[in-house]
């Protein structure tokens, strides 16, 4: 079912609007037609939106970092574990954000293939980064401490999600569902990374589960809560 084959076949379907007045390709508007005037409720310019986005990112990072400073940053974890548990999720969050707001080929955002590819790759990278660290300590049982950490991450991620929603409101003309989900994933990864600065459990399974499920949760939250707020409406 190639493109050419399909397109050629489709031409056999008549056009119900095919008459001179309607089917003619766009031409210049008649001279008598009034020139369109921008309405008073015209939206912000591109540079204003970019500034908003920058402000939202700064607010998000400042908030997440301030929370970690307030609750305390660990200094007893080896640097390489910090890189894996803080650096990798934060990097994945940044890539997710970049992907969500990038214009794509025609200005309508990334393709579904790119998004699907990122989600799979991010899950693998996060999983490997989490599980290649040894079990350093044990606190509460795995499930219990995973939910404790996950709840906390979901809680602190609400502010960055709201900031990004404010910056990007009414800005997705297409693909608003998966792009909103990507914003949620982005916030989830970043919050999970920041939480690792404080988290008392550095073992791989805890990071994978306790810091992983909030990423999925934030993705779903972004998809269901933001998709209608972020689309052009």
């Amino acid at each position: 079912m190639s493109d050419q084959f399909d397109l050629a076949d489709f031409a056999s379907i008549p056009d119900p609007l095919a008459k001179p007045a309607r089917s003619a390709p766009p031409g210049p508007v008649p001279a008598a037609a009034p020139a369109p005037v921008a309405p008073s409720e015209v939206g912000p310019t591109r540079s204003t939106l970019h500034k908003r986005r920058l402000i939202a990112i700064l607010v998000a990072f400042s908030w997440l970092f301030a929370v970690q400073i307030f609750i305390g940053i660990r200094d007893d974890v080896p640097a390489w574990i910090m890189v894996l548990h803080v650096g990798v999720p934060t990097l994945l969050g940044s890539v997710a954000l970049w992907l969500a707001v990038q214009p794509g080929r025609v200005g309508l955002g990334p393709s579904m293939k790119a998004v699907a590819g990122f989600v799979v790759a991010a899950a693998v990278v996060f999983g490997v980064a989490s599980l290649c660290t040894p079990c350093l300590e044990r606190g509460l049982p795995l499930v219990q401490n995973s939910f404790l950490c996950g709840d906390w991450i979901m809680g602190i991620a609400i502010v960055p999600l709201a900031a990004l929603a404010w910056a990007q409101r009414r800005s997705f003309a297409a693909g608003w569902g998966f792009r909103s989900g990507l914003l949620g994933i982005s916030v989830g990864f970043t919050a999970a990374g920041m939480q690792a600065l404080h988290c008392a459990h550095s073992d791989g399974m805890h990071v994978l589960l306790g810091h992983g499920w909030p990423v999925i949760g934030m993705g779903l939250l972004g998809y269901f809560l933001l998709r209608d707020r972020l689309r052009v409406a």
Partner: protein, 216 residues
């Protein structure tokens, strides 16, 4: 197929649309980019480039020219509000189609909430006249009208995702990749939806065309 061509029903010039889009599109893209940066005067160029095509798209989706005009106004309002989201290097035609589609989706949702009936496709709609040209005689006009009405009815009965995929590819002359970007899905899904629509339309026309071929 020959019958349809001879009637002038298969009249949408795809190649013409593509060439026209390429020529006018660059100017319009540039104008939209300037408008996104705050140059109010650039919008007239954008309006000239996309208005008729959006009106045709919305008429095909809404099946009522009057309603399509209302939706077109709303589409332009949203383009004004969302101008800042038009990125450098973007193309205004797919972008505006995507916004028009949003407007249509909202219209359908509001209609569902208000429990209104959709525009009837069985009723005679004086605005959707049959194709006619100087070379067609009365019988040909009647046949073309019947074929067009069949397409209209069948399109109306299709699921919205199949209808919009088919309309974008067949009538708006867009590429599969552009349609996929507008619909926010994969190229494979667009092809599949459009192909299902095509099969339904072929089946519906199959019931009409043989009788008419015999009559000509």
């Amino acid at each position: 197929m020959h019958l349809l061509r001879s009637l002038g029903v298969v009249a949408v010039p795809w190649e013409y649309l593509r060439v026209t889009s390429a020529r006018d599109g660059n100017n319009a893209d540039e104008a939209m980019s300037r408008y996104a940066e705050g140059d109010e005067s650039a919008f007239a160029v954008v309006h000239r480039a996309v208005a008729e095509r959006l009106r045709a798209f919305l008429t095909r989706m809404a099946r009522s020219p009057a309603l399509a005009d209302d939706l077109l106004q709303e589409t332009f309002l949203r383009m004004h509000r969302a101008r800042g989201s038009f990125e450098v290097g973007g193309r205004v035609l797919p972008w505006s189609y995507a916004i028009a589609r949003n407007v249509y989706i909202d219209h359908v949702r509001q209609r569902a909430v208000r429990k209104e009936r959709p525009v009837s496709v069985d009723a005679d709609d004086g605005d959707l006249d049959p194709p006619a040209g100087p070379e067609t005689d009365g019988e040909q006009v009647t046949i073309a009208a019947e074929l067009a009405a069949t397409v209209e009815r069948t399109l109306a009965k299709l699921p919205p995702n199949q209808r919009e995929a088919f309309v974008l590819l067949r009538y708006e002359g867009l590429s599969v990749s552009d349609a996929a970007a507008i619909l926010g899905t994969t190229e494979g899904a667009v092809k599949l939806r459009a192909f299902h629509a095509y099969e339904a339309l072929r089946a519906a026309l199959g019931d009409v065309a043989p009788k008419k071929r015999g009559a000509v």
